[in-house]
């Protein structure tokens, strides 16, 4: 049986191997670090999608209402402002903690 070595194929195999190595985030990186980094990137992607929806659904509709409220009653606006930021903080903390646990299977 005769094997014909195709130089082009060999070169592309090397390139593929190099890319695979990069995709595996280099052999010098510890398995744990690689896993953490991967989880973080997935988490960031999921979070970005959620946040984009959040912008569309909530902030878009709240804008004009808040502007009107600020002109009508500044005291009510101040109360709503502090409630909104605390509410969002609690909600996003819950979302990010949930994502951390979901992707890593444990709480950090």
């Amino acid at each position: 049986m005769i094997f014909v070595i195709d130089e082009k194929a060999e070169s592309s195999q090397k390139t593929f191997a190099r890319f695979s190595s990069i995709l595996r985030l280099a052999p010098f990186m510890k398995a744990d670090t690689r896993k953490t980094l991967f989880s973080f990137l997935v988490e960031l992607a999921v979070y970005t999608i959620l946040i984009t929806f959040y912008f569309f659904l909530v902030l878009h509709f709240l804008g004009s209402w808040l502007e009107g409220l600020g002109k009508e009653s500044i005291k009510l606006y101040a109360l709503v402002a502090i409630t909104l930021i605390i509410g969002q903080a609690v909600l996003l903390e819950w979302v990010t903690t949930f994502l951390f646990r979901l992707l890593r299977g444990r709480s950090e």
């Binding site: 960031l44 004009s64 005291k75 402002a81 502090i82 605390i86 996003l92 903390e93 990010t96 950090e108």
Partner: protein
């Protein structure tokens, strides 16, 4: 919704939400890791895109509230928050912030507020950086010599200023309390109040949460371990910044929509920053903190020399 420029009607500015989320994310990491509000970056960052200073200050405070809640909750889960200490400090901070604001009003009447605040902030920020660089590098070197340097919060936190801490703990002014969570057996309540009052004074005078001065004071003067100082400072900032946000909102200085967008980035950044503290020993966290006040020095010096606000 346009991702390049979204109109925020309350402050009358057009800002890219991507820009706001990115700034929030970076400041969130820093806040979760060092326990600072990051106002010396967030304020100029908002100003740089055309927001008026009054809105930049008020909106930044609102975003700090949200970010600090996320980071403080994460630190609490890691056992890094002393609630008792945080509540006492919040009272002192609010009092100090009011005095700082009054000082600003006085300087406004005298007509030299910008110059005085700039010079004071350059001196304070630089001194903090130089002092922490000196102290933490000395502690890290001493640990290496003894071979006691370990990673993360398993290490018993050390500082080269333990002598000063001991003197502060011995001040016999009634009431003397204990802080079991922080490992402080006895300390005068007034020492804590004075420390938080000074932090609040700088917060009111220079703006933001003043974590850059309160966190080092908690470590060196009160003797709180660095991880606990970071977490407790964040908890304390939640209370004092909420007060500040409400006060600024009443004056019409808060665009809450900008704060909400910034906070979406800060929420995840703060979680990451808080988790990162697990991988660094106290003196190393302090050493990494050194460039943080210098960013403030650079911004203020630029503004002072050129007359342009970033």
């Amino acid at each position: 919704m346009n991702l390049l420029a979204m109109h925020f009607a309350i402050s009358g500015t057009d800002i890219s939400p991507v820009y706001l989320v990115t700034i929030g994310f970076l400041i969130g990491i820093m806040g979760g890791f060092f326990g600072v509000g990051g106002s010396f970056i967030a304020g100029p960052a908002l100003r740089a895109i055309g927001m008026h200073w009054n809105f930049a200050v008020g909106t930044d405070l609102a975003h700090i509230v949200g970010k600090s809640i996320v980071a403080a909750k994460r630190h609490r889960a890691l056992g890094n928050v002393d609630l008792r200490l945080g509540l006492i400090m919040a009272a002192g901070t609010i009092g100090g912030a009011e005095c700082g604001a009054q000082l600003i009003q006085y300087l406004k009447h005298r007509g030299n507020v910008d110059f005085v605040v700039s010079i004071v902030s350059i001196v304070i920020y630089s001194s903090i950086s130089i002092f922490i660089a000196w102290e933490s590098s000395r502690t890290v070197r001493a640990q290496k010599r003894r071979g006691t340097a370990q990673i993360g919060r398993l290490t018993v936190d050390e500082s080269s200023f333990e002598g000063l801490t001991k003197v502060m703990h011995r001040i016999p002014v009634w009431p003397v309390i204990s802080l079991p969570t922080s490992g402080v057996k006895a300390i005068s309540l007034w020492v804590i109040v004075v420390v938080s009052f000074i932090g609040g004074l700088f917060s009111g005078f220079l703006g933001g949460g003043a974590g850059y001065i309160r966190m080092p004071m908690m470590v060196y003067i009160l003797g709180i371990p660095t991880h606990l100082a970071v977490g407790t400072d964040l908890f304390e900032i939640v209370i004092s910044a909420s007060y500040g946000t409400f006060s600024h909102a009443l004056k019409g200085n808060v665009d809450i929509l900008v704060a909400l967008v910034m906070h979406t980035g800060a929420a995840i950044g703060a979680q990451i920053g808080a988790i990162l503290t697990q991988y660094f020993a106290g003196p190393k966290i302090r050493l990494l903190f050194v460039p943080v006040p210098l960013v403030g020095v650079a911004i203020v010096t630029y503004t002072l020399l050129t007359g342009h606000k970033l």
